[in-house]
């Protein structure tokens, strides 16, 4: 029995999604990224005496949108609590969060690992404010504090400990990442810290009680998440197999060494002494408000997947891939609107083939793709009407991607890529090829099928790929058979 089969991995994720509001959750200061230090930290954010928080309606709208999109319960009344701890980038000495009665509870997400689908339940999602930033570079032997981020609205989304591998955890995080962008509540920028995950990891013998967990903090890329969890799992298994006990701890992942290591922990660190914030009244969310938000919600990925399968005859796999990202789905729909539903499969193939490959290679987002849906539809239209072959279409596409022309038609015209349809012209070329390749012709006549393919290749080469391969094949067959 291999080692992995003797252990079951248990992972739960806590994700902080920064909400896409203009102003902060409890003040009217801007949330724009990249300002000079402390230029966007107002009296409320820096906790001057006598200030009071005033709640941003839009933050609640974001939470409602999220709750609706995961089929969760939205609390008709939720309350804010103070989470007390001392750190210089938390000027009030407490973070305003939610403890009892969070705004969203329950719901879940469908994830896919390879061909396997799985539903991951959510525990809750609650609103809270972000803290500021500590800069530990040396300022006369001191630490510098930038409070621009203090008070930025966050939705903390907590999953049930239902993931059983790093691959499932990453699939869940990716699905969540796509969803929050899809419904427009978070920009998903992981480099800027708009979407960050903490992973609670433990291992146990199958069927045993839950093991002691360690929390890996601040995972800001999917690759690091996978590496960190894999390392942590092996580390925990080793510890237990060597007779040691796992101590509950918070750990950090070091991308350079690929290892996780425990942070220095104080015994009282986790006693946050939550209590309802007396500065804030209960947040009331009426059914009418929920209905209003629901009306503004875009079609959700799950529903879109169903529609792509029924309207366009796409496979479940294609439909899932195209709805993995809103930008991809939008691109697909805009292109299909131009090519017609009959070419939907072709559009899907191009998006998942040429376009995705290039985007991956160049580490670009679909939103920054140099080829527009209109341009792709133009390429496909010329394939469908036989102006160009698939191979030439790839060349045209490459030229579009490189910005060598504004449309497929312009590039076909400028580079003379139009397929030769004149039968007599192709026939002349085929005759030349046959004359120049007597050896292959004899081999074919002697029964070597491979020789025929060589002749097709030669003929296509002679036409510089501009002849319809089917037409060339037919002609060759006719001539050789006759």
């Amino acid at each position: 029995m291999n080692r992995e089969a003797q252990w079951e991995v248990v992972i739960g994720l806590e994700t902080h999604a920064q909400l896409k509001t203009q102003s902060k959750i409890f003040s009217g200061a801007s949330t724009a990224f990249g300002a000079e230090p402390n230029r966007q930290a107002c009296a409320v954010d820096i906790a001057l005496p006598g200030v009071l928080p005033v709640f941003n309606r839009e933050a609640a709208v974001c939470a409602i949108k999220f709750g609706l999109s995961v089929g969760a319960t939205i609390a008709p009344r939720s309350i804010f609590a103070r989470k007390n701890y001392f750190y210089p980038d938390l000027p009030k000495g407490y973070q305003i969060s939610q403890f009892e009665l969070p705004v969203v509870s329950g719901g879940g997400l469908q994830i896919r690992v390879g061909e396997t689908e799985k539903f991951v339940n959510l525990t809750r999602a609650h609103l809270e404010e972000d803290a500021g930033k500590s800069l530990h570079e040396d300022f006369q032997g001191k630490t510098g504090i930038d409070l621009n981020r203090a008070g930025t609205p966050l939705l903390e989304i907590v999953s049930e400990p239902e993931m059983r591998s790093s691959a499932e955890a990453v699939a869940y995080a990716k699905a969540l990442h796509a969803l929050v962008q899809w419904i427009g509540i978070c920009d998903g920028n992981m480099q800027e810290g708009s979407f960050r995950c903490d992973a609670n990891v433990s291992v146990r013998r199958p069927g045993a009680e839950l093991g002691t967990r360690r929390e890996i903090k601040n995972l800001n890329s999917f690759r690091f998440m996978q590496q960190a969890i894999d390392f942590e799992v092996q580390w925990q298994i080793n510890e237990i197999e060597e007779g040691r006990k796992i101590q509950q701890a918070t750990v950090l992942f070091d991308p350079d060494s690929g290892e996780t290591r425990a942070m220095r922990s104080k015994e009282d660190a986790h006693d946050y002494r939550y209590f309802p914030d007396p500065d804030l009244l209960p947040l009331e969310i009426t059914p009418a408000w929920i209905d209003q938000v629901k009306a503004d919600l875009p079609e959700l990925p799950q529903a879109m997947q169903q529609r792509f399968q029924s309207d366009y005859g796409l496979s479940a796999y294609d439909a899932a891939a195209l709805t993995a990202q809103r930008g991809l789905a939008d691109f697909f729909q805009r292109a299909v609107a131009l090519t017609g539903a009959a070419q939907a499969k072709l559009v899907a193939n191009w998006l998942q083939g040429e376009i995705s490959a290039r985007l991956n290679r160049e580490e670009r987002d679909i939103a920054d793709a140099p080829v527009t849906p209109e341009q792709l539809a133009g390429v496909i239209a010329r394939i469908v009407d036989h102006t160009i072959s698939n191979n030439i279409a790839k060349k045209v596409f490459e030229a579009l991607w490189a910005g060598e022309g504004s449309s497929a038609d312009a590039i076909i015209e400028a580079q003379g890529l139009k397929q030769i349809t004149d039968t007599s012209a192709i026939e002349a070329l085929v005759d030349e090829v046959l004359a120049a390749n007597q050896k292959s012709v004899e081999e074919f006549r002697a029964g070597k099928e491979k020789a025929f393919n060589a002749l097709v290749g030669q003929a296509m080469k002679a036409t510089k790929g501009k002849a319809n391969p089917q037409q060339v094949t037919d002609l060759l067959k006719k001539k050789l058979g006759g």
Partner: protein, 95 residues
């Protein structure tokens, strides 16, 4: 439920409050008196009554999502003990 001097020391440490032994004893008495009041309140029959999160039965006022604050960094930093490059400086934090 009642607190002893160890509990008080721990709470004081969490709140970053320094208490002398005499202050600890006095605080312990005061906190236990408060817990006594709470015990009285808890004796009241509240079956079927929905708990409230706030003493006033009103709901949160909502602010439109508009940037209304201007940059007042210079004024705020004029009264800060130590600043550099727009940052508030604090004693070195060791992770």
């Amino acid at each position: 439920m009642s607190l002893n001097s160890q509990d008080v020391s721990r709470i004081a440490r969490l709140a970053r409050v320094e208490l002398s032994a005499a202050e600890n004893a006095a605080t312990c008495d005061q906190l236990n008196a408060i817990l006594g009041f709470i015990a009285q309140l808890q004796a009241v029959d509240t079956d079927g009554i929905e708990p409230m999160a706030h003493a006033v039965d009103v709901v949160q006022r909502l602010r439109p999502d508009v940037v209304s604050e201007t940059d007042r960094r210079d004024a705020f930093q004029a009264v800060a003990p130590d600043v550099e490059a727009g940052l508030y400086l604090v004693p070195r934090v060791i992770e």
